[in-house]
């Protein structure tokens, strides 16, 4: 597993460098690798799907045009996530002035279930997941976003902070407070616990 990861990272950097030199196939590969995670993340930053999709389009078109001026990067994924978030916020400001409310408790669709989500048949497992989804939606938006970046998109605390444009302590606090809330809201059915212990 570790080995595989290193290869993936290496490929990522190679792709990025080929793309900067004008290799269009490398560019297509980068799009294919990251379009889905970027869409899935973008849908969570704002509920305006069109805004997300337009932003991704703009982002990639701009990337291509400015390819020769781009710097090398260790993590393409991190670079793209951060760029997308900025782009969404900028595009959004053009259309409307909406303040991101850090403490909004209105349910968002940050953790929507899609049909493909529940790939495991066990009913108990589904029960567990839907409980978790309900709890996640009760979290303030920024905590949801930070937890989503850290555990679903697998970024480090430092990267989460930089993508969200907040300092390290705040990112850690979003995540930690979120986890504590989720922990208290998660009920583990006895049967389920027996299965995994």
């Amino acid at each position: 597993m570790v080995k595989q990861q290193t290869t993936a990272l290496h490929d990522e950097v190679t792709l990025w460098n080929s793309f900067r030199e004008g290799d269009k196939e490398a560019f297509a590969c980068i799009y294919q690798l990251y379009a889905r995670p970027l869409l899935s993340y973008g849908y969570k930053v704002t509920s305006d799907n069109t805004l997300v999709e337009d932003s991704i389009q703009d982002l990639f078109i701009e990337l291509w045009h400015s390819r020769t001026n781009l710097s090398a990067t260790d993590s393409v994924k991190f670079y793209l996530f951060r760029a997308l978030r900025n782009k969404i916020l900028r595009n959004k400001a053009k259309v409307e002035i909406e303040v991101l409310n850090d403490f909004s408790v209105e349910p968002s669709h940050l953790f929507d279930v899609s049909n493909e989500t529940l790939m495991i048949d066990e009913e108990v497992y589904q029960l567990q997941i839907s409980q978790l989804q309900t709890s996640l939606q009760k979290l303030p938006k920024r905590q949801q976003e930070a937890i989503n970046l850290r555990y679903y998109h697998d970024f480090s605390n430092e990267e989460v902070a930089q993508i969200m444009g907040v300092n390290y302590q705040s990112a850690c606090k979003f995540i930690y407070t979120g986890l504590r809330f989720l922990k208290e809201n998660i009920i583990i059915p006895t049967f389920f616990y027996l299965l995994i212990s």
């Binding site: 990861q5 269009k24 493909e116 989500t117 978790l132 555990y151 922990k183 998660i186």
Partner: protein, 363 residues
């Protein structure tokens, strides 16, 4: 890892980097660390289990697959913009547009395949660990005596003092895996369908059914795997992990027969094959006689080879006139060789697990 996990609660584990990496990208090293930790801190086991659930649960709850239609629609727009730029740059090449469009589609197909495989592999991996109800057992020998440990498959491990082995309660379906720190003698029950694999430091030993000793103390500069009976394959850990398929592995590994051993020097990272210090007779009830009376040297070497399971390399043509008269008996193999060489004017050395005899011939 010097973090003190003693007072960790569920959210502390879940937000810890080392813990998160173990849950999401388990490696033999992190498995070993955390399973070890759970064994030694049973009161934390429940919290750890919940923290793991929490992380994997969040991943499942957040899992979302954007529609493929959107992904390709966006790409068409992006691609069009890029193509426009290019056609402006090179208008003479009117066919360039469609060609590169085809190239781009092919590239996308190739990438899709790669993404799919990566994804399913990861998912399966986390599912396997999620459903794990097969904890590690750890046996540590703190006594001054050799400790005999019996494994689920009937194999026995004679664990030397100050050594430790760990293994799963139930072995996997495909293989039997054991982790060793220190020194132990293994007697493995035969099961050709289920290789027995010992991980010790930087060396991996794979057998089907045989007996052998492994010395892999952290403080020693070398690791030694010595075979008593049967056949054993030894690998560098790096090579073993890189080659999941057995054929490729066999090319990288060293195969040992009885009385052979492999020495791995940590500093040089090289496996070198030699003979054990005191080769033993393959069978204690051996009826092979070492009482030689004007016996042709070929016959002498053949008997030694048969009795000790070693191979002796020499120039048959050159030594065809050599005969040995010596009443040999229970002395160790290397003492016998000394006598033989002295009387025939030869020398011997051990090279790559074989005995090589050099002689100028006899008259």
């Amino acid at each position: 890892m010097i973090t003190d996990y003693e007072h960790f609660d569920i959210e502390d584990f879940a937000s810890n980097d080392s813990f998160k990496n173990w849950v999401l990208h388990p490696s033999p090293k992190s498995n070993f660390f955390w399973e070890n930790y759970i064994q030694n801190h049973p009161h934390q086991a429940h919290k750890i289990e919940l923290a793991r659930n929490l992380i994997l649960g969040i991943r499942s709850a957040a899992h979302q697959v954007p529609s493929e239609a959107t992904v390709s629609r966006l790409w068409s727009t992006i691609n069009e913009h890029i193509e426009n730029e290019e056609t402006l740059e090179s208008q003479n090449f009117w066919h360039h547009w469609s060609l590169s469009k085809i190239a781009a589609s092919v590239a996308i197909l190739l990438c899709l395949g790669a993404v799919f495989f990566q994804y399913t592999d990861k998912l399966q991996h986390s599912l396997r660990y999620f459903a794990s109800d097969n904890p590690m057992i750890e046996q540590q020998n703190d006594t001054q005596e050799v400790l005999k440990v019996r494994l689920a498959d009937g194999s026995t491990v004679s664990l030397d003092p100050d050594s430790k082995i760990s293994y799963r309660t139930h072995f996997e379906e495909q293989k039997r895996e054991v982790y060793l720190e220190g020194e132990a003698f293994f007697e493995v029950t035969k099961n050709p369908n289920k290789p027995f694999i010992v991980y010790a430091n930087d060396v991996v030993t794979r057998v089907l059914g045989t007996s052998f000793r492994i010395k892999a103390r952290d403080t020693d500069q070398k690791i030694v795997v010595a075979v008593k009976t049967g056949k054993v394959s030894v690998f560098k850990k790096k090579d073993f992990q890189e080659n999941e398929n057995i054929v490729a592995q066999n090319n990288k590994g060293v195969i040992l027969k009885p009385n052979q051993q492999v020495v791995y020097l940590k500093s040089e990272e090289v496996l070198s094959k030699t003979l054990v210090e005191k080769p033993e007779l393959l069978s204690k009830k051996s009826v092979i006689s070492f009482d030689f009376d004007n016996t042709p040297i070929a016959e002498v070497f053949a008997r030694l080879e048969k009795a000790y399971g070693v191979s002796i390399v020499y120039d048959e043509e050159l030594m065809k006139n050599c005969f040995l008269t010596a009443p040999l008996g229970n002395e160790p193999l290397f003492d016998k060789l000394k006598v033989i060489c002295k009387t025939t004017g030869a020398t011997y050395e051990v090279f790559d697990g074989q005995i090589v005899v050099t002689s100028r011939g006899c008259n």
